[in-house]
Amino acid sequence: MEFVCQREELLRGISIVERAATSKESMQILEGIYIRAEGDHLHLAATDLELSIECDVPATVVQQGEAVLGSKVLSPIVRKLVGDQLVYRTSESGVAQIESGPSHFTVHTMVADEFPALPEVESTGLWRISQGELRRLIRHTAFAAATDDSRPFLTGVFVEVEQDEIRLVATDSSRLAFRRGKLLEETDRPRSGIVPVRALSELMRILDDDDDAVVEFEITESQAVFRAAGVQMISRVIEGQFPDYRRVLATDQPTRFRLDRIQLLAAVERVALIARRSTPVVRLAVKGETLSLSSREAEVGQAYEELTVVKEGEDLETAYQARFLTEVLRAMDSDQVEVGLGDGLRQGSITPVGDENYVYIVMPVRVG
């Protein structure tokens, strides 16, 4: 194999695919980046068998062929080289020579035949959505998924497609984020599946800033496929039954109030400072038009703060984990939020004012 390409182009491709390469020592070939030179481009790929990312990079191919190079070797070399152009050549013995500017590297390669076959797309036709819409759907929900893997089906985002609507739901069983969005065209194939959070966060890195650019995607029985900006990402979907989220999606709390999102976020962050040794809990109490936030930590101290709110309903007191409030308030975009406090052990809700497509549900902590 021999090719010449723009170093920046190759670097861009490597940065996209390398995140799918494994960092585990168990299978060396999965640490590698697969490169195939053919026609007028290079095809790059990496996979850890759960997630695979592929993309094409323009190149002048002198001799077609394929090779696998360790991503931890290749990536820093290409990043640090100074020349505009990069010349790559594999010798008979399987040693790669990389030249750019004044530098010359000789690097051992792995046997390309050992690289696993990438999953074929089992598609029957892809759905289309705008990048801006997909970005917002992911940003508003993925943070709420579970991070511990005791219940694997909660470590992903539940994606539901029906007619021209797409719904993303994530929960760790203590709180839940729901967002509804629009597809560019209607589909006659309603589908759902649980997509790992890791795949979605890699997708966020791949998507560019153009809100109107189109992403093609599909969820099948076993895989989720995303295509955007010349990149294809295929992830396995997580098996298991996602909980019935509709049952808990209530926003009819007995106490509801509106206030400035950033103001509330800052107040929760401040009050939570006192309790940082364990899981910070913030008590919320609404009395009249005053929302008080407080927190205490044995042997550390206490914090107390008051905010003025526009309230409907009764006076109420409850307590939530601070993280469950700050994460959603950071993810939201609206200036104002509406907060609903549940009585007893019932769920509370946070919704952006003027955006009925987003609902966040949070369960209180019980103070013994």
Partner: protein, 435 residues
């Protein structure tokens, strides 16, 4: 903590005193607050029963009984000479038209907690003395208030707003003076003793006001012509030690000068709760160990719930006849406070230990406490907890435990295995040892 940066090398020697009077050193610059609820039980009763208000109200034993005393009485009852700890018959004699109420401790405890929550808002250094009294160390918080008087007003007002009850507050450089100050202002008092006023505050007070001077001590001092703290202060230390004994003399010598260095000590919460019993005769029967364990769990669980805590970890302790002791722990990701959960973890620990020889002692404990438990959207695990709490409520009413779990009952092994000594062991169950 407040730091005052002083550059000693450039400061002229003569200015030292001037500086230290403006910036008192930490040891003399404490701000201790004593909060004492006015007629606490009686005030709560009056709050809950508006018809009691403004009338002599006596909380205590049944006035028709020959035994029992006054627990608290309203200020209206005090006008008739009724006092706390007075025999209830005597109180009835002095004020027969008073309203007599039996104490409702759970309600008083709930109010005490509310007051405590308010106090915790002012400082983390809160030392509760009893159900209706506490010390606060507010050193370093002075600048949050225009004056110490305003600080006291803020505390009183916060308590009144949260509970509807009135507290008397004393603020002084130490515990002794703060308690004295709150006492002197009662009811609805607020007395601030600033460092420069200590002596003028103390001197006119009768010697009985000194902490440690009982009726006897006072009589001895009065016989020597000492009736006020000021008069006591005129006497030398050797004289006081000769008259009153070495340590009491020293103690009163210091108190009369307003010196009391006892720190305000916040009570730290328990790190673990456990129960264990030692058998009269060593036990190997697994079903007996199981039922004993269930009883111990019921005790530990009840205390855990009473404290309003949740635990993450269960510890099992076994001691063999040769005194070798083993402990095993199991941690649960989700905190718990119900008996079922504690028992499930404890029995798993017991089963994991191959009990191949007799056991002299068995104990179970919970640790790794949290005060709050995250509720779940999809799984409702509150049922087991609700059952435990209902059992607590029922068992709290009678004497002894009315409700028990089946697993606490011991069924002796089948008759053919039964030896004449069977039935031993459980005799010790009635009195498990608190640890």
């Amino acid at each position: 903590m407040v730091f005052y940066v002083q550059d000693c090398s450039v400061r002229p020697v003569g200015e030292e005193n001037a500086v230290s009077s403006r910036f008192p050193a930490a040891s003399q610059g404490r701000t201790v607050v004593h909060v004492d609820m006015d007629a606490f039980f009686a005030s709560i009763e009056a709050l809950l029963h508006p018809e009691y208000r403004g009338k002599p109200l006596i909380v205590g034993a049944d006035p028709r009984s020959n035994r029992g005393v006054v627990s608290t009485c309203s200020y209206e009852a005090r006008a008739y000479g009724v006092r706390s700890a007075m025999p209830i018959r005597e109180a009835y004699r002095r004020c027969p038209h008073a309203i007599f109420v039996r104490p409702d401790m759970p309600t008083y405890v709930a109010y005490s907690r509310k007051v405590r929550e308010v106090l915790d808002r002012f400082t983390p250094i809160v030392e509760p003395l009893s159900i209706d009294e506490a010390f606060l160390d507010m050193t370093g918080c002075e600048h949050f208030y225009p004056s110490l008087h305003e600080m006291g007003k803020a505390i009183k007002e916060a308590i009144r707003e949260a509970t509807g009850l009135i507290a008397s507050v004393g603020i002084a450089p130490n515990k002794f003076l703060a308690k004295l100050a709150s006492d002197l202002g009662k009811p609805d008092g607020l007395v601030v003793v600033s460092p420069q006023d200590v002596q003028s505050f103390l001197d006119p007070l009768p010697v009985q006001r000194l902490w440690g001077v009982g009726a006897k001590g006072a009589a001895r001092l009065i016989a020597q012509g000492i009736t006020t703290i000021g008069e006591l202060r005129q006497r030398s230390l050797p004289w006081l030690q000769r008259e009153l004994g070495h340590s009491l003399g020293q103690h009163l010598y210091r108190l009369a000068r307003g010196i009391d260095e006892r720190p305000v000590e916040p009570v730290s919460e328990a790190q673990s709760m456990s129960r264990e019993i030692t058998f009269d005769t060593d036990v190997q029967d697994p079903s007996l160990l199981r039922s004993v364990l269930a009883k111990l769990v019921a005790d530990v669980g009840r205390r855990l719930r009473k404290e309003g805590l949740f635990a993450h970890t269960v510890t099992l302790k076994l001691r063999y006849p040769d005194y070798t002791t083993i402990t095993r722990q199991k941690r649960s990701q989700l905190p718990f406070c119900d008996d079922d959960r504690i028992f499930a973890l404890a029995i798993r620990l017991l089963e994991s230990i191959n009990v191949s020889r007799p056991v002299r002692l068995i104990g179970v404990g919970v640790t790794d406490f949290v005060e709050a438990k995250q509720a779940s959207l999809f799984e409702d695990d509150s049922r087991a907890e609700a059952i435990s709490r209902v059992m607590d409520a029922v068992n709290a009413k009678g004497s002894g435990r009315l409700l028990q779990r089946g697993r606490e009952l011991y069924r002796p092994p089948a008759p053919e295995k039964l030896d004449p000594g069977a039935g031993r062991g459980p005799s010790a169950l009635d009195n498990p040892v608190d640890v």
